[in-house]
């Protein structure tokens, strides 16, 4: 019996190529593990039984000696990415029965690379949240402690890795929605540079912040998937044409730590793990230094203006007329009000109303206008800091996974993203890598080490990430 669960993506690819096992065996294994784990964890909204057909096709190609970057490899996708003929709910009642009319860009790329898409993963409604407690289809439980959340909004995509339901997966990150769940579930999660992965076919939350990225067990796994999905797409107007990725020429790197920013609300044992990981990087020959980012503390308030503003605009398309839930009223206006009132959950309604407020005349300048100015100041903070360092490190989240139901008031929930939001504000890449565990009630919970780098410097994240991996393994 082959132990697929301990294999890295590269090992799975080698096993397929050498004929040690087939894609069908691999796919069947993950479908079985996924179903077994899902009863309790609720990470998958749907497991595609007919994925075996894709696996059979992949096996034929492998036999013929054909190549594909993910040929025969199972992958799960967050349920806010369209896949033609499959449901795409975005975790919302308003799209409960919606069947996608076309493939999102990333799904097309996965199919072209020969990947076997095995299921849709659970998420906070419209990716609004840090715990998946906002999913209309139930919370995702953390495989490390089922009383705790898996993080969010891509909680399902992180939990499927932790419960061995899939070797790799895709999520989306608007304010930390890949990195925070990756930290909580003990896997690697990458939010790429804004504009490197097309948003075409991704159900939009905050268009100037949203970015699709991969989850995996290792840094090299997410690197492989990133290389498959990154490409210019004319259907996304913010997709970068001919991106000039940094190639990683430098071997000795300088890592900046914004210590002024790490003072409030961070668990002391999380900081201990963080310092220990930094010490390992130093031992490996890298330089650690303090950096100042004077405006970074305004990232979260800026985010909670820009994101709801964009969300309220993006979500106006759900009107019960062209697709999605329709609730009958007396007249047209009532059709809208009822369809949206019934279809959207509590957090979605809250953010739409907040977005409407910050965009309304009289408040626009004080909130949205001001937020775009401060956003630029934060970007300039990073530009200046990166003149003196190659990467910036923080813990991914202030603590380990919190308990289900623990954060009831919205602001305390929003604070879970305090360290991840700045990368979205600035559009820079960020990665979360496991940095060991902390103990809560005698249960070991994983925590994450976050690295951020300048635009298109993903390579730096991979280089440093692999060093941290060596230490935690």
């Amino acid at each position: 019996m082959i132990d697929f669960n301990t294999k890295t993506l590269k090992e799975l690819q080698e096993g397929l190529a050498s004929g040690e096992f087939t894609s069908l065996e691999l796919t069947k294994h993950y479908l079985k593990e996924g179903k077994k784990g899902n009863g309790e964890i609720n990470a998958f909204l749907e497991i595609f039984d007919n994925a075996t057909e894709q696996a059979v096709k992949a096996d034929k190609k492998i036999k013929k000696g054909e190549k594909g970057d993910l040929l025969g490899i199972p992958i799960a996708i967050k349920d806010n990415m369209l896949m033609e003929g499959k449901k795409a709910t975005a975790g919302s009642k308003i799209l409960e029965n919606y069947v996608a009319s076309y493939d999102s860009f990333v799904v097309k790329k996965l199919k072209n690379a020969g990947a076997v898409i095995i299921g849709r993963t659970n998420l906070d409604e419209f990716a609004m949240g840090s715990s998946t407690e906002n999913s209309a289809f139930g919370v995702v439980k953390n495989p490390h402690d089922k009383k705790r959340v898996a993080g969010g909004s891509s909680g399902g995509s992180a939990a499927v890795i932790a419960m061995n339901g899939s070797p790799i997966s895709l999520g989306s990150d608007t304010g930390g929605s890949i990195r925070e769940p990756a930290a909580f579930c003990g896997c690697v999660g990458l939010k790429p540079t804004y504009g490197t992965v097309s948003r075409s076919g991704l159900i939009a939350l905050g268009s100037s912040l949203d970015q699709i990225g991969p989850f995996g067990k290792t840094v090299s796994d997410v690197e492989t998937v990133f290389n498959v999905i990154k490409e210019h797409d004319p259907k996304d107007s913010t997709s970068i044409r001919n991106p000039k990725f940094y190639k990683g020429e430098k071997k000795k790197l300088t890592i900046g730590v914004p210590r002024d920013f790490l003072t409030e609300g961070v668990s002391s044992d999380v900081l201990e793990r963080f310092e220990a990981a930094l010490a390992e990087l130093k031992k490996a020959g890298h330089v650690i230094k303090d950096v100042k980012l004077p405006y970074i503390k305004y990232s979260l308030p800026v985010y909670y203006i820009i994101m709801p503003a964009e969300a309220s605009t993006n979500l106006s398309r759900f009107d019960g007329m062209r697709y999605g839930l329709h609730v009958e009223g007396e007249e047209l206006l009532e059709d809208y009000n009822k369809s949206r009132g019934v279809g959207f959950g509590k957090e979605a309604r809250r953010r739409i109303i907040l977005g409407t407020y910050v965009l309304s005349s009289g408040y626009y300048d004080a909130y949205y206008g001001k937020a775009t100015v401060v956003r630029q100041m934060i970007r300039e903070d990073f530009d200046k800091a990166f003149k003196g360092c190659d990467a910036i490190a923080t813990p991914t989240a202030p603590g380990p996974a919190f308990k289900i139901g623990e954060k009831e008031d919205p602001v305390s929930m929003y604070l879970a993203d305090i360290f991840t939001v700045p990368a979205n504000i600035a559009g820079i890449p960020g990665i979360s890598i496991p940095m060991g565990t902390v103990s809560r009630h005698d249960i070991e919970l994983p925590v994450g080490f976050q690295l951020m780098a300048p635009h298109l410097h993903e390579e730096t994240l991979f280089t440093l990430g692999k060093e941290i991996e060596k230490y935690t393994n």
């Binding site: 919606y98 069947v99 009319s101 076309y102 100037s208 004319p234 107007s237 405006y295 305004y298 979260l300 308030p301 800026v302 909670y304 203006i305 309220s312 106006s316 009107d319 019960g320 007329m321 062209r322 697709y323 999605g324 839930l325 329709h326 007249e331 047209l332 206006l333 059709d335 809208y336 009000n337 009822k338 949206r340 009132g341 959207f344 509590k346 309604r349 809250r350 739409i352 109303i353 907040l354 409407t356 407020y357 910050v358 309304s360 004080a366 909130y367 001001k370 937020a371 775009t372 100015v373 401060v374 956003r375 630029q376 100041m377 970007r379 300039e380 008031d409 919205p410 602001v411 929003y414």
Partner: protein, 99 residues
């Protein structure tokens, strides 16, 4: 900034957002929004120095002014997702009222 978000204000915002909000939720929504506004109002303390450029790179993205695909290619696919259709149209209630 002192501000009290009243239930009437929530009702107005809900109306603008085309969302029916259940009566019992209006009060909690008002206090939630107020707490969030209090939090995000921190940005008012930032001295407004005009930054060198505005956030977000601005550029035009053009395509040939031709037909991107064969007419009607996606019609059936898209209309199938509609809650109500009539022939090749979305069926909705009348938009103009009599009075």
């Amino acid at each position: 900034m002192e501000r009290m978000i009243k239930v009437e204000e929530i009702e107005k915002l809900a109306e603008l957002s085309r969302i029916e909000v259940p009566e019992e939720e209006k009060k909690t929504l008002a206090s939630d929004i107020e707490a969030i506004l209090e939090y995000i109002s921190q940005i008012q303390e930032v001295a407004s120095v005009e930054p060198e450029s505005v956030a977000g790179e601005q550029r035009n993205v053009m395509r040939e002014d031709g037909t991107p695909h064969k007419s009607g290619l996606h019609t059936e696919n898209l209309l199938n997702a509609a809650p109500k259709r009539e022939k090749n149209y979305f069926r909705v209630k009348k938009i103009l009222s009599q009075d």
